[in-house]
Symmetry: C2
Subunit: 426 residues, 2 copies
């Protein structure tokens, strides 16, 4: 008997009909002879509605109370899901984060899991029940207050439960079919991947792929949890995310095909570029600049510095569009201290990343990228690389074309256009 952890996001339990559909899916998994533990998010827009209410009563809600408020969303969805399963004749019990033993630190709104002690879940499983757990929430070990895990928290809940219970697989359901070689809305010939390594997944997620949250993938990688990303709306197999030493469970032993060099092409239109012009070319200036930017709360991604023979350098960096205003304000306030000449702001950029574990052992991967872009006449503005990734910044309005050309150049194109799921929210 296998133990399967499943995670359903808000769009999968948006209304009574969806909840009944998910309940049926859970019951089918149970009927197939598996133990089932489910992590569930709040219904549809519940969290946004609660945030809206909070904003109406308090301009800056107290973090402890905001977590108390938001954690009510999952209580609603999980209780409804449990009673729906019950009405199909199966024992199901819902547990809040605290009841599930999801112990965290005290950072309200962005708590980290410290330890999972799923005693009550084990008992319920031993008694034959299907276990439903509130995603996104935990309890602060010190003060016994409710905490929430922040963005993507329910994915993390599911993976943490899978790790603590030694589950065979953690199925993360969403409205897309799995992980694709590119975003099918950008690259119509994108193919669904049968599997991807967790390090590739991390690079793709960090560079624009939205199917899984980085934090959950990291947790899975660290704790050896096998993730299966699949769709709530079909029974198709999705994509397995393999940690170190893991095999794709669908590929019979010994028959593994040779791994492709490039797993996928990720695109990202959410970044802006700031250029600090005419920075005195003396040691410590870059440190000075990025200390100022960090203090503004901005999350810097790519950095390029052109040291010119004039004794002045230009430093460009990218960051989320939403962080740009604060970073610009912070830099402008320190202009005379740092001694730079001007600030340029560009929010019309696009980032294209090619990701593949095979890059480690194959040369010439970047040449294919640059060649493909040059034949299309796309200008490269910035380049950055990791061991298994090459990213370039191009004009935003050229990003889609660039992605299609690069996708084809690496031989990733499928034979038919991918079907894009109707729902796009998660």
């Amino acid at each position: 008997m296998a133990l399967i952890v499943q995670k359903y996001g808000g769009s999968s339990v948006a209304d009574a009909e969806s909840i009944k559909r998910v309940a049926k899916r859970i019951v089918d998994t149970r009927r197939a002879g598996n133990d089932v533990v489910v992590a569930v998010s709040a219904m549809g827009d519940t969290t946004d509605e609660l945030l809206d209410l909070a904003a109406q009563v308090a301009p800056i809600p107290a973090p402890r109370e905001l977590d108390m408020l938001l954690s009510s969303g999952e209580r609603i969805s999980m209780a409804l899901l449990a009673m729906s399963i019950h009405s199909m004749g199966f024992d199901a019990r819902s547990f809040t984060g605290p009841q599930a033993g999801m112990r965290t630190d005290s950072r309200h709104g962005a708590a980290r899991i410290v330890e999972v002690t799923p005693t009550r879940l084990r008992e319920a499983l031993d008694e034959g029940a299907i276990v439903i757990v509130a995603g996104f929430q935990g309890i602060n070990d010190d003060t016994q207050d409710i905490t929430t895990l922040g963005r993507g928290g329910s994915d993390t809940t599911a993976v943490a439960l899978a790790a603590a219970l030694g589950a065979d697989v953690c199925e993360i359901y969403s409205d897309v079919d799995g992980i694709f070689t590119a975003d099918p809305r950008v690259v119509p010939l994108a193919r669904k991947l049968s599997h991807v390594t967790s390090e590739e997944m991390l690079e793709m997620a960090a560079n624009g792929a939205k199917v899984l949250y980085i934090r959950a993938v990291e947790y899975a990688r660290r704790h050896g949890v096998l993730i299966h990303a699949r769709s709530t709306f079909t029974s198709n197999e999705g994509t397995y995310v393999l940690g170190e030493g893991m095999k794709n469970p669908r590929e019979p032993e010994g028959e593994a095909m040779e791994e492709p060099i490039v797993a996928g092409v990720a695109t990202d239109l959410s970044q802006a570029k700031i250029t600090v012009v005419g920075v005195p070319d003396v040691p410590g200036k870059a440190a000075e600049i990025f200390k100022i930017v960090a203090k503004s709360g901005a999350n810097v991604d790519m950095i390029v510095q052109n040291a010119a023979p004039t004794g002045r350098a230009d430093i460009s960096f990218t960051l989320p569009k939403s962080d740009a205003a604060a970073a610009l304000r912070a830099l402008a306030a320190e202009q005379s201290d740092v001694g730079f000449e001007a600030l340029l702001h560009d929010d019309q950029i696009g980032k294209l990343s090619v990701v593949g574990a095979g890059m480690r052992t194959h040369s010439g991967v970047s040449a294919i990228l640059f060649e493909a872009l040059s034949t299309t006449g796309v200008n490269i503005e910035m380049i950055s690389t990791s061991e298994i990734r090459i990213s370039v910044v191009v004009r935003g309005d050229e990003l889609a074309e660039a992605a299609r050309v690069v996708h084809a150049a690496y031989g990733l194109d499928g034979e038919v256009e991918a079907v894009v799921a109707a729902g796009t929210g998660r």
Copy 2:
């Protein structure tokens, strides 16, 4: 420094504006130098909306899960209330039923409080915080599952907290100004009572007065808690409900007026009457009938039996209209066994009750009632009495007139018409 427990019902926290108004009221109480503990219900129609969702996913929701679901309503209102108080510059902390130490038995949906261990509330009070507690909910001591207290549960939560913390007073806020000598919508000249004894309050509540829940009044009586029923929408003093040996805190020592013999007139249109016709007049038949009725789940109120010299008797009883169908079905199924001749059902009755602790020591109280009714030509169909109450059943469409006449006959009429609150729901 006094410790004041306040309870706000769903209509008092129905939206963001109401929550801010309640927050201000709580802050004013704190500013006046009091420690404040607040029990709060779910916002407006939240509970009904959750019940509706439950009905959509499961015809008969599992009780444990239904309690989990419903308990989310108070988490929302209490977190919003706490953050609203916070934004006014006061420390406020919300606590769920379990966190507040509200320990109950395991009857989901109708749990009884077993013990209150408000350790965390004491700590928060000692640290100067305003304490907000989720009404209506607790935790089952055996299985550590969430329970709810059923109808009027938040009133009971407030009184139980007041008892456990040794509060000076438990203020129960609603949309009416206090306890009246009669329902002002029925008797326009009804007067607000400055105080009422808890035994009078119990009789009035059991016989149609809707301001306070019986269970909360009983708990207060048993644990010596002073209740102050007042309005969320005015700063008027309301009505004190006095337990044994308690004095009205508004009346200076020694100046207490003589107690009125009759405290009020309660009216109730929610009952129906069933008459079992032609019951064999042999011992044990009444027991047989009421065993059948009890098994149907019906809650019998008044009973009248006319033993006739014919060897056959008619037995009439009243019960909530909603219980009548089940009781009739159950009786009809046993007609041949019991040997009665026919069943009559009448849902056009009204019950009028005169309540007053002074009845114990004064004679002639019932004579005033019968005299008043006879001069108006109202026919009495059933009579029942307790130590401090006389109830009569009359035609439903004559109830209002009967109440006005009786109210005047006991000298209860005020000089001006009472203002009826805009909102009527609780």
